[in-house]
């Protein structure tokens, strides 16, 4: 026990180092290559230029509001998708009839999820927050539904039999067996879905609003501000990583990994 506890911070530091190292290498290459090959700022910005774009945007206050706006939209859209999609997916997994009916529709919609809905979203909801949130929701929903359904299907027969023979009602089965049983897959779905959420967000913000990171990213193109473009791309990447680390990874640790040693090794 104590040995494990002692090893832990070291192991964590090592894994952080491994995670950061490719970015460090990339940064080094960037710092060296731009002056070495005399790349023009219109083609690709230098690292110091991106840094000063960051400082400028951060100090004049706009950056924070763009970040918060975009984060809010992702949370709203993805949140609704989870709240609606998880029960829907679980029910589909539990009922052969439901899944037979909805599966073709789901399959049909995969290629259309998210971005393809932007035109209709703006017609229905106008330009602004609602249309973006709808597109994000739409992009996430299918990944969540599909993975929740898969999670139910992968729950072992003997667990289901055990619960039934212990007298569990459908309602109890749903909350205490199917939901936790499907949780590993639901987390996977949320992870995939959040990736879709950011992509949907960027596309929707470009078209449907005048705030947010995606909007700023696209607007910068008009003024050839490659430093702002790259800055926005970096920020979106970082925000996604933070969400993954702060929300999904702890959720996974507290549930799936707590329940099973094997799953941790498999993951």
């Amino acid at each position: 026990m104590t040995v494990v506890e002692k090893l832990r911070p070291r192991a964590r530091a090592a894994s952080t180092a491994w995670f950061v190292s490719p970015f460090a290498v990339l940064l080094a290459v960037w710092l060296i290559a731009i002056p070495a090959f005399d790349v023009s700022a219109r083609t690709f910005p230098s690292a110091p230029a991106v840094w000063s774009a960051f400082v400028d945007l951060a100090t004049d206050g706009d950056l924070t509001s763009h970040v918060l706006t975009s984060l809010g939209r992702v949370f709203a859209g993805a949140g609704i998708a989870v709240v609606v999609g998880v029960p829907f997916g679980l029910l589909m997994g539990m009922s052969a009839g439901l899944s037979a009916f909805f599966a073709p529709l789901l399959r049909f919609s995969v290629a259309l999820a998210g971005i393809a809905w932007i035109p209709l979203a703006t017609l229905w909801l106008g330009y602004g927050n609602n249309a973006v949130v709808f597109v994000v929701f739409n992009a996430v929903f299918f990944a969540i539904v599909y993975n929740s359904m898969l999670g139910v299907r992968q729950t072992s027969t003997s667990l289901l039999r055990a619960a039934r023979s212990l007298g569990a009602s459908r309602w109890r089965m749903f909350w205490e067996i199917y939901l936790p049983g499907a949780l590993p897959n639901i987390v996977t779905g949320a992870r995939v879905g959040l990736g879709f959420a950011w992509r949907g967000l960027i596309a929707a913000e470009i078209i449907a609003t005048s705030t947010g990171l995606g909007y700023t990213l696209f607007l910068a193109r008009q003024y050839y501000e490659t430093d702002v473009i790259i800055l926005m791309m970096i920020l979106i990447g970082i925000l996604w990583l933070i969400m993954d680390r702060l929300i999904l990874a702890p959720l996974e640790r507290r549930t799936v990994q707590r329940w099973s040693a094997e799953r941790r090794e498999r993951a």
């Binding site: 072992s156 003997s158 667990l159 039999r161 055990a162 619960a163 039934r164 023979s165 212990l166 007298g167 569990a168 009602s169 109890r172 205490e176 067996i177 936790p180 049983g181 949780l183 549930t255 707590r258 329940w259 099973s260 040693a261 094997e262």
Partner: protein
């Protein structure tokens, strides 16, 4: 009183792909009186699991009836507690929550549930492991929890399908004695499926022998070894040796070689 009565059970499986029909169970009938420990034994693939799954209500029989205390059963229910070969403990629940689950579905209040679960935990020797998750337990401990979970709700009959097949030989012996110790305290009616002759003879009041597939009841032997039983003196027990030999011959196992190579634990 007859607790369980299995009458002219017949099971045909149809392969959904080829359409080919397999007669797993031809015609199986037997009764289990209240408080008896009955084993079903037979060659691999003869339909032992099928019989148990039908009694449990997991599989619908193509013919025949299963009655529990006189009324026909359909579908799974808490009157028949099942102990699974793969334990089937809920990985997301602690040992305590697993054991209390059946009580929860019956609407037993929290305090009473706790007390009852603790009683079962102490009974099966898992004291101190209440807050552990199943993956933190050894195979033997998991199956103790599996037994406790079933006994907590006091089912009319306990069904066990090769419950000790997933643990090592040493642990298996210990668990067999443990389950007998618990059983002797409670005298729950037990239907026990195994392909291990020693296990069947050691544990049971009666052994029902099935023929190879398509199966019928080939023999029904009563075992008069006094209880409490323990492995220490079993191999010198004349009754044990006699019935064991009889079963071995019936199942076509070379008795001479087997008996000669065996050493008492």
């Amino acid at each position: 009183m007859t607790m369980l009565s299995v009458d002219q059970l017949n099971q045909v499986y149809v392969d959904t792909y080829t359409g080919e029909a397999t007669v797993a169970i031809e015609d199986v009938s037997f009764d289990v009186p209240e408080g008896q420990f009955v084993s079903v034994i037979g060659p691999s693939g003869c339909g032992k699991t099928t019989v148990l799954n039908i009694v449990a209500g997991f599989v619908d029989a193509t013919g025949g009836t299963v009655r529990l205390q006189g009324s026909p059963v359909s579908g799974p229910g808490p009157d028949r507690g099942v102990v699974f070969q793969d334990f089937a403990l809920f990985p997301w629940k602690t040992v305590e929550a697993n054991i209390a689950f059946g009580l929860k579905t019956q609407g037993v209040g929290k305090v009473e549930r706790r007390a009852k679960a603790q009683e079962m935990i102490d009974l099966v020797g898992l004291t101190g492991f209440e807050k552990k998750y199943p993956h933190e337990l050894s195979g033997g401990m998991r199956q103790r929890a599996g037994v406790a979970r079933v006994l907590a709700t006091e089912p009319a009959i306990m069904l066990m399908d090769e419950p000790f097949a997933s643990v090592d030989a040493q642990t298996r012996r210990v668990l067999q004695q443990e389950v007998l110790r618990i059983w002797e305290q409670r005298r729950t009616t037990v239907l026990f499926v195994t392909h291990d002759v020693d296990e069947a003879v050691f544990m049971s009041d009666r052994v029902v022998v099935l023929s190879p597939r398509p199966s019928t009841v080939r023999a029904d032997l009563s075992i008069q070894i006094p209880r409490p039983r323990s492995w220490t003196d079993m191999h010198t027990n004349t009754e044990f040796v006699r019935i064991r030999r009889e079963l071995m011959t019936m199942l076509g196992v070379e008795t001479g070689v087997e008996t000669g190579s065996r050493s008492a634990p």
